[in-house]
Every structure is written in C-alpha cells, then in structure tokens.
C-alpha cells in the first residue's frame, strides 16, 4: 500500500494587487460613489475581507449612462470599425498577459478552484475578445444587411458564477457591434470587473465606452430602469429576469436574458461508460455546480444505472475538495452564505420527499462556505430537487426505460438551457438532439464553451443568444435578424 498524498501546491497570491478600496469606473476614471457608500467583498473560502468597493446608486448609474451616451455619440459610433477592432484585440492581449493575475483574483473573490479559473475562465474570456475583435469590421458581411447599426448604450448585469467570463460575453460583442456599455458586476464578485477596468485604461480605450458600477440589486434595477439605455443584457436568475422583462415591457428597450436551467444529462446503455462518468462529474461539479447549464438531472437508462452509479460514486470519492488556491483542488467554496443556505434548503427537500442522499467521505474546511459533492438517487419527476435549480454540487439521478421516455423526462421542465447525450450511436445522438428542447446540446461531452457557438435557452431559460453570429445580432438594430 502506498501513501501518495498530494502535498499542498498553492498558487501564490503575490501577483494579485487587490486595492483596499475601489471606486466606480465611470468615464475612464475611478470615481467615488456620490453618496460615498461602499460594501465589502470577501473570500468565500476563508471569509476574509478582500476589499471595499463603491456602492453605486441611482445617481451613479445616471452619471455612468451619461458618460456612456457621450462616448457613444462623440467617439465610438464615429470611429471606423477597424479601429474598434484594434481596441478589442488590445484588450484581449492584455487579458492574456495578465491571465495569472486575473485567475488569482477570480479564485480569491469567487471561491472556484484555481485550476478552473486558470484553464477555463480566463482563457475563454480572452478568446471572446479575440473572436469579437474579428467581427468589428466585418459586420456588413455577417448577414445583417449592408449597414448594420449598433443600438447605443447597453446596460449589462452579470452573475457571480463566472464573473470575468460573463463580463467578456457581455462587453465583447457589445463593443464589437459599436455600442457603449454600463456594466454592473455581481455583488459578491466585483473584483475582476474592476481589474478589467484597469485593462481598459491600459488599452487606452476611449473614456466612457466601458463603465463599471458595482452594487447590488437596487443598483441593477436603477440601470434597467434608466430611460437612456437602449438595451438590457442580463445573466442571472429566472426570477430577476422576469422582473426585468416586466419593467422594460412598456419601453423601446430590447433585452437578452440568460436565465436558469435544470439540464438533463442522458446516459444511454450504449454510452462509453467511463467517459460518461467523467462527463457527469464535469456536468455537475464543475464550478461547484454554480453553472446555469449544469447537468443537474442525470437520467440513466435503467439497465446500466447500477454500473454507472457504482462508477460515479467511486469517481466522486476522488474529488478533491478544499482550498481553491491549491492547484490540485477540484471542488472549491460555495460563493456565498446566501447561496449555501439555498443549496441546503432545496437539498433538504430531497431528503424529506424520499430521495436517497449520498456524498463521499470528505473533510470540509471549518471556515468559509462549503458543500460536499452530493447525489440523490431514487429521484422522481415530482421531487423539488428534480424541478428547481439548485445551483450547487447536487445531482439528482433518475432513470428511463426507452429513448422516448428519456426525451419526455428531459423536456418535462420549465427550463430549456442545455442537455447532454451520452451514446456511442451517432444516429441515436442526432435523433435525441432533435427531440430535446434545449438551446445547447452536448453530445458525449458537457460544459464545453466556444465564443463562436451561440448560447441561450428555451422557455424560462431566457431570451436571445450570446456568442457567435446569433449573439452579435442582439447588439445590432432590429432590422438585423439571424435565422434561428
């Protein structure tokens, strides 16, 4: 018997120059909020204070929108598209140059493992800027008519699960299409957005093209309701998405809403079982399950269910839970106390409604917010844990007997963001993909993202698409349509 315990392999924090205080980034400068209020952002893995950031209210939002409008009218809309593209390329390159710094700050502020911020979040965020930089001077050839026009000023609100990546999804296409933006990062994860503000300065981006106003839901509502924005782009909960849709309903504002999900991950009897198990793990435990497109409903063909579950449990026992800054950590901290409470609350209904809970034997740190990797077996369609988005490392396992039953169960949800199909039979995969009502369908893989691929959902999972040519259309005037 061996004793091959991985020694601690912490990434150094030295590269992260987190300031003790941040103002709001308006008009190319960091300014103090008008009311002088601020709030704390902490490291969810340790509960230590990271920084105090400005709290933007209605008057700050107004200043930011004015600054974005001025930049739009005077500079950005008049600038040749080729020049806009150059700024985007410059931003992308600086993000790559400062990738390690971004990764460390993201992990400290969010709680996600450094391996994920280093290998997924930051490279993908830079890739989004590179991709959209290429579009900036080619919009006339993208199938949106000969003279596609930007919308103007866009208000953008992003979530805390992929802070920098969601910023990139929002800002890169908006700027490429010629809009200016006011972006509100999530309350618990403002730091990489503020670091991005520094990148804008470093890239010499004209003042006011990007404005970043930190704050909470009230700040976000002020942005949505500001009379001088042309569009709202929001990623977050379905509940808030609905509120946004209501509040802009009598206006000319357009909206892209990327909301919740409860994705089905379908494992057929002919699947490559070992790789399917990896895909299940990646589907639900990637980023602590804080993923709107997480594969949170595992639906396995009954005749292979025992084999899959046995392998899944063994594999779950290998998940390394703990210090997100350790390069070998697989599952990091839950982003906030509030989210931890929500995960605990919904999971308890699983116990109460008769599903069987299982977690590997893991030692959770005493400080910070943690939840062990968890699966519930014996789940039925009528359990809350099969219907509601948990947004945590909790997997509900159901079974099916025939392919049509699999589809029926998969589609029986109010969401429709993503789905996964595991089968070695090409014809079956194509058939299933046609039947599934989900915006993104992965075949024999899960949680793969690419800036060229449109992302978005059916039903309560949202409006519109982000990424690719379809995503670009959402930032151009309404005569620009893309065949869906």
């Amino acid at each position: 018997m061996s004793d091959f315990e991985y020694a601690n392999a912490p990434e150094s924090k030295a590269i992260a120059n987190i300031a003790p205080n941040y103002g709001l980034f308006i008009g190319g400068k960091f300014v103090d909020p008008k009311k002088g209020k601020s709030f704390s952002t902490i490291n969810p893995a340790t509960e230590e204070l990271l920084s105090k950031v400005g709290y933007g209210d209605k008057s700050d939002i107004d200043l930011a929108v004015r600054s974005a409008r001025a930049a739009y009218t005077k500079i950005w809309s008049k600038m040749p598209a080729k020049e806009r593209g150059k700024y985007l390329y410059r931003i992308a390159r600086i993000m790559q140059e400062r990738a390690r710094e971004f990764a460390v700050v993201e992990t400290l502020d969010n709680g996600k493992p450094i391996r994920e911020s280093r290998d997924t979040d930051i490279p993908l965020a830079a890739a989004h800027f590179f991709y959209h930089a290429g579009w900036a001077d080619k919009l006339e050839y993208a199938g949106f008519g000969s003279k596609p026009k930007p919308l103007g000023v866009v208000g953008q609100i992003i979530p805390w699960n992929f802070p920098l990546l969601m910023l990139a999804w929002k800002i890169a296409p908006a700027l490429a299409a010629g809009n200016t933006v006011v972006l509100k990062p999530a309350e618990t994860t403002p730091l990489t957005a503020l670091l991005f503000a520094e990148v804008c300065q470093q890239a010499g981006l004209p003042d006011g093209v990007v404005n970043i106003v930190t704050g909470d839901g009230i700040t976000g509502a002020a942005l949505v309701n500001h009379p001088d924005i042309n569009k709202v782009a929001f990623t977050g909960s379905t509940e808030v998405g609905k509120a946004i849709a209501r509040s802009i309903s009598a206006t000319k504002k357009s909206a892209t809403l990327e909301l919740g999900g409860k994705a089905a991950n379908l494992v057929f009897e002919d699947a490559a079982i070992d790789e399917a198990v990896e895909g299940i793990i990646n589907g639900i435990f990637f980023n602590q399950g804080h993923v709107c497109c997480a594969g949170s409903r595992l639906i396995i063909q009954e005749n292979v269910a025992d084999e899959v579950l046995e392998k899944l449990k063994k594999r779950m026992s290998l998940i390394r839970v703990g210090d997100p800054m350790d390069k070998n950590t697989d599952l990091g901290a839950i982003n906030s106390k509030e989210q931890l409470n929500k995960i605990e609350e919904i999971s308890k209904t699983g116990d109460a409604e008769g599903a069987n809970r299982w977690s590997p034997d893991v030692k959770l740190p005493t400080k910070g917010f943690w939840y062990p990797p968890t699966i519930f077996t014996g789940v039925t369609q009528s359990h809350r844990i099969a219907r509601e988005e948990i947004f945590g490392p909790v997997l509900s396992v159901l079974t099916f007997r025939t392919p049509s039953e699999a589809i029926e169960k998969a589609n029986n949800t109010m969401y429709g963001l993503s789905a996964g199909i595991w089968s070695d039979k090409g014809a079956k995969v194509l058939w299933a993909a046609k039947q599934l009502k989900a915006g993104v369908i992965w075949s024999n893989t899960f949680n793969k993202f690419d800036p060229a691929s449109p992302f978005g959902g059916y039903k309560e999972s949202g409006w519109g698409r982000e990424g690719g040519r379809h995503g670009l259309a959402g930032y151009l005037a309404s005569d620009a349509k893309v065949n869906k």
Partner: protein
C-alpha cells in the same frame, strides 16, 4: 471464470465491453496531467518511480559489458547515495538473460528480477513453435519475467482467439517460474477500443501484467492509453478480485512524465496499484533524470549531468 475458455465466450465478452470515447479519454488524461506534485509528495513519487523502473537495454549492439554495467546501475542507481532504492527489474534480450542473472547475483542484486523479451520481440512475426522455444529458452536461462508481444496482425484481422491461445500457451510455459507481461503494442492497435479489448483479452488469457509497447514503435505509452489500461485492470479487479499489473514503456523520459504516470495510477486504478508488484515503467534514460531530480530536491540545486553515472 468470466469466460469458459471457448472462442464464442471470448468474443461475446469482448464485444460486450463498453466503448471508449476518444475525446473524453484524452480530456481526462490531459486533466490529470495538470496535477501539481510538490515537495514531500514529489520526493515520495521519485523514489517510488525509481523502484518501478524496468531498466532496459534492447539493442542489436548489446554486449555482456553493456548489460553488466546496467546491472550495477540497477542495484545501486546512485553510488554516492545508498538511500536510493534499486530499480524494479532489468529488461534484456534472451541471450543476455544469463549474463544479467549471474552479474546481479554476484553484486548483491539477487532479489532483482530479470525480464526477457520473448516471442519474436518486437514484431511477433514467427510461428508459435518458435515463440514457445524462445520463451522456454529465456526461462531456462534464468528469466524471472517474460515480456511477450502479442500477434498484432492476428488481432487486427479479427483472429482474436489465436492471440488468446498464444498468450495462454506462453503462460503455461511460464508456469510458476516466471511472471508474464503481455505487450499490446498499442501504437499498432491505434484505437482506444482496441486497447481496451486487447487488455481484457490478455488478462483473460493469463497475463500477470499488461504492457503498452515494445519501445520500437511510436506512439508508445501515451497518457490516454495508460488510462484505458488502468481502467481495464481496475474493472477486471472488480469483476474477478484479481489484480493485474500495468507497465507503460516507451517515451517516458523525464521525472515529470513518470510522476504523471503515478498520478494516473492513483486516480484511476487506485493507490493499491502504486507498488512495483503492480506498476512498472519500462525505460532507460528516465532513471538518470529521476536521480538528478532527487539530488535537486535534497540539495536545492541542479547538478551537471556528470554527477549521475552513464551506463
């Protein structure tokens, strides 16, 4: 018994194995390659890797002198530091077995096994009669382990029962005298599905170890191939309660490569496989890199290549 020994039962068993998804297997292997092994765990891994090396010379130009110097290296890899463990085994061609055995016994390496490559290594293109004689010859010369090659031509043309029978016959000759390692030559089998099938075929036929490659064909012991083989021994253990060893060989030249192999073992087959009884690394140049990294860990700085012996 999970098969009854008939061709029909073998075919049925192999065709019922789940497929391997190439993209997924490669992604898993790539993810495990990002594990960061530092300080105490690195020191542990280096010593474990040294004790797993099958120190190999398989050249037409091999001479008694060359083999003897390799034996000295195998017993005491670092003459200036006797805390360095001996390697796992010496691996040579048949005609060098006696020389290696005698030399090892003479210099205090009685417990070190000698492995002989047999069955018309590396191509395996000879009649079964020749392969049997080849094996018997190696055992008579004192080989403790037989590294046989499978008939890839037979496997690829669908004559899997011939491959099975050949392994079974060679295993019979090995009996209790020698451990049998079966070389799949995965670089010629090409697909991961074939690697999985051949792994099970070899285990069912009586292999004590399954080995990736001869070292004469590239690609050899790639991480995804080793991953698939480790999955096979893990699942075979669940099925039968029998632990079969794995030996990657070919292309593992640096300490980093070796540590990645140990990570694959730990997170696939499990820690029980982290012993020279169940995991070996076929290599020659690797040993000196392990020794240099070991010195670096102890002293804090790199020595020049002249501080390790060239044999």
């Amino acid at each position: 018994m999970i098969i009854d020994g008939s061709e029909k039962s073998l075919r049925k068993f192999l065709s019922d194995l789940p497929p391997v998804d190439q993209v997924g297997a490669e992604a898993r292997a790539a993810m495990l390659a990002t594990r960061s092994i530092k300080t105490t765990s690195k020191a542990w891994a280096i010593d474990m890797a040294i004790s797993m090396v099958d120190l190999t010379t398989l050249e037409g130009a091999d001479t008694p002198g060359k083999v003897k110097s390799l034996c000295a290296k195998a017993v005491r890899p670092d003459p200036s530091d006797l805390t360095v463990p001996s390697v796992g085994a010496i691996c040579v061609y048949n005609d060098m077995v006696k020389i290696a055995r005698t030399e090892l016994d003479r210099i205090g390496g009685k417990s070190l096994p000698v492995a002989a490559v047999a069955t018309a290594f590396p191509s395996g293109r000879a009649s079964l009669a020749v392969k049997k004689i080849d094996t018997q010859d190696a055992i008579d010369a004192g080989a403790n382990e037989i590294d046989m090659v499978i008939d890839r031509g037979a496997f690829l043309s669908g004559r899997i029962y011939d491959v099975f029978e050949e392994i079974r016959v060679i295993k019979e000759i090995c009996g209790k005298k020698a451990h049998l390692k079966v070389i799949l030559e995965t670089g010629e089998l090409v697909t991961y599905d074939n690697v999985r099938k051949a792994s099970y075929l070899a285990m069912l036929a009586g292999a004590d170890f399954i080995k990736t490659s001869t070292g004469k064909v590239a690609p050899a012991a790639t991480a995804p191939v080793v991953l698939v083989m480790l999955e096979a021994v893990r699942d075979y253990f669940t099925l039968t309660g029998e632990k079969i060893g794995v030996k990657p060989a070919g292309g593992i030249r640096t300490t980093k490569d070796a540590i990645k192999q140990l990570v694959l073992v730990k997170e696939t087959a499990g820690e029980q496989w982290l012993t020279p009884e169940l995991f070996r690394i076929g290599a020659s140049a690797l040993l000196n890199d392990l020794l240099m990294q070991r010195m670096k860990l102890r002293t804090g700085h790199y020595a020049s290549a002249n501080y390790v012996t060239v044999d």
